[in-house]
Symmetry: none
Subunit: 226 residues, 4 copies
DNA sequence: AATGAATGAGGTTTCATTCAT
DNA sequence: GATGAATGAAACCTCATTCAT
């Protein structure tokens, strides 16, 4: 903190952007850098450099690395949350199954649109620090909770098989996460959203394993209508 | 006369352990620390302290931080690999479906036995550095590959529904990963292995979503035997 | 925090010192650097360089710059505190005036021995941060308090003139501080302790200003020609 | 029609103040901020914010942080210098002792009027940078010099006791500094100027310590009961 | 004149790794 | 073999100062 007495070199100063635009720009750059290199291997310098601003500029907009990461995650989490619509059983115009499919579709579409964030959320967001891990866990748990409740409702309606709803929720979300991660990583286009939706839906609807070669699955059917 | 020799300083020198035992001990400590705090938040000091050795001693047994982590992952990966038995269609004594169930059971049992490593592998093993990420990806891809091939064989036999085998593999592995992670995190006992196996198996066999309330699912059956 | 993978140059490693010796050495170096350049213009690098250790080594022994400074101040404050002996009025062997003189002598001796710390305490210790300022104020206030109480006792005995004791304490301490600061700065030798003590004592005893030109002040005059 | 013009952004541009008024306003704000937080903990932003101008505007009026501080100190130093009147021995209308008392009174009055600057000068003005420290020392030394010379004159006249004049000057100034600092800090009102003057004067005239319990000091006693 | 976004030097701090004992 | 003090690269972050608008 000794008086620095600047003697600035030639460094041309970047044209000032409106505050919120610059913020947005840095966010967007950071998102991609995080997706590419992961949280821990990303330095503020990486982000600043990519954004074409000085390191100090970063700190005009964000508290620190964690803050910008947190911001990104928050935005994406709320995008996802908004994409999901609570399933209702009262509307005869919208069959439950269709609502399920719609939810899957919406989630897949969101993730295929926000590829970087999908990668970040599904792989890079763990082990930042205990507080952040906790926060992430809370979001995640909320989603599981939401799904588990819908499943319970579905069970009451005979639309969902018996079984611990939370466990079914884990299975579902695990499968979907992996599907999405791979789709995003392997560069599936946004047009594949429909196909993936169908695959996911079909998986949920009937698995893929045929336990008897006879093909009809009586005990399953029986389970469904006790 | 067995009074422990003291060096000039106060610290008493650890009794020399056979090299491999000491190595094993450090590995085992490291595993737990990594599981508890994650790779990045774990310092060599954490490990050394927990292992009751000096920081320098750590480096007598391991090249560096990455090396010990890598070692742990390798061991666990090969445990998992060994648990999985390539599915064969030729042995009439062992129905394919039973082999599948057995594989699931074995994986679940391994993970419930090696809880720390399960946590580490499923959450903490990403973002170490590009080389390591690649290596991990390779292992992971190998598993997917293995499963996808089995699924393709299964499809030929009419035991597995149509669908892109790789996609089915992703769905399966995603679901299983999540199930295991939660089981390990929530502290399921090893006795729950059988229940979890059943749940996973049942999920693969028939999903849980009933698309019609009539309950019989003819078109599905039809799909299976074209 | 990306894995650094050292490729160390040739840098010869300094011989390890016993922990407390090294700590002492750094403290002693820091004291002088602080005295020379002041708190704010002193960098950790300055201290490390002067101590002939790497920057990181500094942090093995001290939390941060504030901590080492605080440590130094604490030590010096308690040296001073110990030098001061609470004045007692009950011991006929030790006349109060003599005790006062003794205290002055002890403080001066301490400060002339610890020149660097005297400089640091009297000029450089303000404006570190609010918490530190508070702490320093507390120490300072304690000394004032102690003196003020002694003065009050003295007033009861007729040894000290009337007047608000706290104000007298401020005047005394201010005078002494300045005297010491200058003595230390101008490089008075430790032998001058006695002279300074006498000057200070004489100042307290009779000021220096003669308000009447008649000018004889009996006891003063007496003192002057014993 | 006097509706204030808004620039493209939301911020409304400050009505231009006459150059010297704005400068004065910033100076005055800076003085208080420096007094409150000290030089090092004061940022340009603090000052600009308090002054209600943009950071850049600050630099229209002052070279840099040091410059404004320096300016403040200079003004205060010359206020003090002006308050002090060189003591003359030739004017029978103005007894020397009265001139001394008058000087003390003037200094105290100035400091009680300029409380912030008093605080700044006495505590916050050290450790800015070597050049500034030197400058401050020079001012300070000038005051000591002035006083020391007056004291020497006084000694020649028999008004001041024997003793190294410079040392007496240090003692005097130290006592006065401390008295003033405490008066300002503890919030003494300007009305206390007279009391403080009296206390300081009395301290210089006779100290407070009675070296013999016989204790009567005629002229002192006389002073006390006029 | 005024603005405030942008800059980057200069400091702080951590911790994987080394090496003399 | 074991030790742990020492190292320094690499990151972090702040804030005085500049300059395009």
């Amino acid at each position: 903190m000794a008086a620095p007495k600047r003697s600035r070199k030639t460094a041309l100063k970047k044209t000032a952007l409106p505050k919120s635009e610059r913020r947005q720009q840095i966010l967007s750059v950071a998102r991609d850098v995080f997706a590419r290199r992961g949280y821990h291997q990303t330095t503020i310098d990486d982000i600043a450099l990519q954004a074409g601003v000085a390191r100090g500029t970063f700190y005009l907009y964000f508290e620190d690395k964690r803050a910008i990461f947190s911001d990104l995650i928050d935005r994406f989490a709320s995008q996802l949350t908004m994409a999901i619509v609570r399933i209702t059983v009262d509307d005869p115009q919208r069959p439950v199954v269709e609502q399920v499919r719609e939810n899957i579709r919406a989630i897949i579409a969101t993730c295929l649109t926000e590829r970087s964030m999908t990668k970040v959320l599904f792989t890079g967001a763990v082990g930042i620090d205990p507080a952040f891990d906790r926060k992430l866990f809370t979001f995640y748990d909320m989603v599981v909770q939401l799904l588990a409740e819908s499943l319970k409702d579905g069970q009451a309606l005979g639309i969902v098989d018996e079984g611990e709803p939370r466990v079914l929720a884990y299975l579902t979300i695990g499968a979907l996460k992996e599907l999405l991660y791979q789709a995003v990583t392997l560069g599936f286009s946004e047009e594949s959203a429909e196909v993936l939706t169908q695959q996911m839906f079909s998986f949920l609807s009937g698995g893929y394993l045929r336990t008897s070669t006879s093909g009809v699955r009586p005990e399953r059917a029986r389970r469904a209508r006790p």
